[in-house]
């Protein structure tokens, strides 16, 4: 079955949208109509222009081209979404694997720890962490990852629990293969597959949470374009100068929508496989 037939028409469109955003983000300096302004250079002679050529999405309070700002903002959003998921995996996976494999006291302690983090209202914890760390892209990523890893820890533990009783793992253990080797060589690769699908689907919600932090002023440092922050800055001029908030707001929405639709399609595809 080819990728596209597995994804179906909706999934294919979603994938195309995600790919387009990725492409725009990576090639921003070449694709943005005003790359310098996208990166933050002010142009105060043209402030608050409504959408019309050459500024297809208008300009902001410092006269910067909104389209370029939104394209550059995609870099921050996509990378924060990806980083959140990666950092969370890096923390959650080992914890979940150790808990599942070692069992007993370890399992109990580590799982209660994840319970604590899961019981904490997620956005509140993220805001708390971000405020403690101060604004900045990496700090925002860490703040969200703190609320994110427990899910992966739980998933990894569940995977390991089923894998542990698999004949080949049992066999390896009986042959005297060391625990760390079994975990790394046999359990990890098998557990990674379902987790990575989940992780791919989580990029959307992750960047949505990151954009909420950035809306609260806890995102990337200015003048870096950051969607949530731009929506917030434009709020004071909304709806009179609607383009200011609408452009980045729609960008977050469409990208998160595409990720969600892609996730659905992936899940449906898996079910078809099964």
């Amino acid at each position: 079955m080819t990728l596209f037939s597995r994804l179906g028409p909706k999934g294919t469109i979603a994938l195309a949208v995600v790919a387009a955003f990725l492409l725009l983000a990576v090639l921003a300096p070449w694709l943005a109509p005003f790359p310098e302004q996208g990166a933050g250079a002010p142009n105060i002679a043209e402030k608050f222009l409504p959408p019309m050529p050459p500024h297809l999405l208008g300009t902001d309070h410092l006269g910067r081209d909104m389209l370029s700002r939104v394209i550059y903002g995609g870099r921050v959003s996509l990378s924060s979404g990806l980083l959140i998921v990666l950092v969370s995996l890096a923390v959650g996976l080992p914890i979940g694997m150790i808990a599942g494999y070692a069992g007993g006291w370890w399992d109990e302690a580590l799982m209660r720890l994840t319970d604590v983090f899961l019981a904490f209202p997620a956005l509140l914890l993220a805001v708390l962490m971000a405020a403690a760390l101060g604004p900045g892209l990496l700090n925002a990523v860490l703040a969200v990852a703190v609320t994110w890893w427990p899910w992966y820890a739980r998933m990894a533990r569940a995977e390991v629990l089923t894998l542990r009783s698999q004949p080949y793992v049992e066999a390896a253990r009986l042959m005297g293969v060391s625990n760390s080797r079994i975990l790394l060589r046999h359990v990890l690769p098998a557990a990674l597959r379902p987790l990575s699908v989940q992780a791919a689907m989580d990029v959307g919600p992750a960047l949505l949470t990151a954009s909420a932090l950035s809306f609260l002023g806890l995102g990337a440092l200015p003048p870096t374009a950051d969607w949530g922050q731009i929506v917030d800055a434009g709020r004071k001029f909304f709806p009179e100068r609607w383009w200011y908030s609408v452009a980045p707001g729609m960008a977050i929405f469409v990208l998160a929508l595409a990720f969600a639709a892609l996730g659905d399609a992936l899940r449906d595809g898996e079910q078809k496989d099964a």
Partner: protein
């Protein structure tokens, strides 16, 4: 019928069960006699002894001081006006001040204003020692020889008439209220003599005050019966309330919205210079900012005019050093730099600086400071300097600056405004050398400047001209040595309903409305 109207009537039908009784009828019963002030912050402390924040808006209508400061404008010089004191004299050495109190003044609890009450009020403030109590720092004794006379003695000469006019810590409190603690005041009680008395207080929401019938001054015709001090933190909502007639006054709306507000016939935009000035303190303890020429170069690279036009819609004014216009000691001929990238480049070359990484800290969610940073950054980039803009909560920004100058920020951007109208406050707080930094967050230390500030302070009580000369000299030195980049003097922009009469903004009292002098047209 336009599309929008169709939508509107369809929507109206749909929401008929919610059809607004309350919020459109607005102030149904005689709303014209209620003044609604939409204040962008809460009122953190209603204790008149310790209040040192935006609570001044409420307190200035409920309490009165001995005097009031009226700033000069054009050719009219500034003056100190009698309020609870009718007149005052000072001894030749400036150490003894005698105030004669106004007759027939009553506190809100019905008791009479006496010299003993004044003595008790100031002593309460000094004893608690919170907020701006330090303005009474030089007071050594307060006597009440008779009910109408208060004699205050000082350890050093001070302009006590101006100190008594302060917007903080100078309020006169009734003897009964003097015995109360902070919680009593913050539960919505008051003990003032002012034209309004507090009816109710909902923290974070509003203070409602009504006219005090026995106030010593005649209420103006058509004056307001009630004042509602509303806490409206969201500027979008504040603007909406002004436009809809649900509020009479506000400030803090985005500068970029003022054009459309000015075009609205229902609204008046009142623009005044303020005593609030914006600047960035250079970390003079850290290389290469310890070199005067490097600091001068950075100041030469600052886009002063662009920040005024893009950040304040052209309403701010150039800062001539740290003292804004309207404060005595302001120096309109100060040798301030103008934006000149070539000159900046030359100075940097002299010091051998070719590339540099600097960090500027400023308050989170202050759009003006951010605009200043972004425009400056663009200029500095052309000189090979990379400026990192680091927004921080004020508390965190301040904490970092106080901890260790060597590890602190390179540039500390902040506002300053005076506790009472004196140049001393700006200069001593920000540029007089400090052993442990408190507000001198550029760690500037120059014995010559210290001496000038001190001599100005000693002369202030007796020889105003001499003091002014000393303060100006100190300020010149600070400007020449580029201890800070003086960004701009902030404009005071207040938006009122057009039918509000008698509104005058007094920059000496921050964002205070003296509700007593207002009335509604028609």
């Amino acid at each position: 019928m336009k599309r929008r109207d169709v939508l509107k009537s369809a929507g109206l039908a749909g929401f008929a069960f919610l059809a607004p009784s309350a919020w459109t009828i607005a102030v149904a019963q005689d709303g014209s006699r209620i003044l609604t002030l939409a204040n962008p912050t809460g009122f953190p402390d209603l204790d008149p002894s310790t209040s040192f924040s935006n609570d001044g808006l409420v307190l200035a209508n409920v309490y009165e001081g001995l005097t009031r400061y009226i700033p000069g404008s054009g050719d009219t010089p500034a003056k100190v006006e009698p309020v609870l004191a009718e007149s005052w004299t000072t001894s030749e050495d400036g150490l003894t001040w005698t105030f004669t109190l106004r007759q027939g003044v009553k506190f809100h609890d019905g008791t009479d204003l006496t010299a003993a009450a004044v003595k008790g009020a100031i002593e309460r403030t000094m004893k608690i020692g919170g907020g701006a109590a330090f303005i009474w720092g030089a007071v050594t004794g307060i006597e009440a020889p008779d009910p109408q006379t208060v004699v205050i003695t000082l350890s050093s000469p001070q302009p006590l008439d101006m100190i008594a006019a302060a917007g903080f810590a100078a309020w006169i409190i009734s003897p009964a209220a003097q015995a109360q603690d902070s919680a009593w005041f913050n539960a919505g009680n008051d003990g003032g003599t002012g034209p309004f008395r507090i009816d109710s207080y909902e923290p974070g929401q509003r203070v409602i005050a009504s006219r005090f019938a026995d106030h010593w001054a005649q209420a103006p015709d058509g004056g307001f019966d009630k004042v509602s001090f509303e806490v409206v933190e969201d500027s979008v909502l504040a603007q909406n309330m002004l436009e809809g007639g649900q509020a009479d006054w506000t400030y803090g709306l985005p500068y970029d919205n003022l054009e459309s507000l000015k075009a609205n016939p229902d609204l008046t935009v009142v623009s005044n210079p303020s005593f609030e000035t914006l600047f960035g303190l250079y970390n003079t303890k850290r290389a290469p900012l310890d070199k005067v020429k490097v600091r001068q170069a950075l100041s030469l690279a600052f886009p002063y005019d662009d920040v005024i036009s893009a950040g304040t819609a052209g309403l701010g004014s150039r800062a001539y050093g740290v003292l804004p216009q309207g404060i005595w000691g302001h120096d309109p001929d100060a040798p301030i730099p103008n934006t000149d990238l070539e000159a900046a480049r030359a100075l940097l070359a002299e010091e051998g600086v070719t590339s540099l990484d600097l960090t500027m800290t400023y308050a989170t969610s202050d759009p003006l400071e951010q605009v200043a940073g972004e425009l400056w950054k663009a200029n500095l980039e052309q000189l090979g300097i990379n400026l990192t803009l680091q927004p921080m909560a004020w508390e965190a920004q301040w904490e970092m600056a106080k901890a260790d100058p060597a590890a602190a920020q390179d540039i500390f951007v902040m506002y300053w405004w005076p506790t009472y109208v004196t140049p001393y406050d700006y200069l001593v707080s920000l540029f007089r050398s400090e052993e442990a930094p408190n507000y001198n967050l550029g760690y500037y230390a120059n014995p010559e400047v210290d001496a000038l500030i001190d001599s100005g302070a000693t002369l202030a009580g007796t020889d105003r001209a001499g003091a002014e000369a000393a303060f100006k000299a100190a300020q010149r030195k600070i400007v020449e040595e580029a201890a800070a980049v003086f960004i701009l003097d902030k404009p005071n922009i207040h938006v009122t309903r057009a039918d509000l009469q008698g509104y005058v903004d007094n920059p000496a009292y921050g964002h205070v409305v003296f509700a007593d002098s207002l009335s509604r047209k028609g």
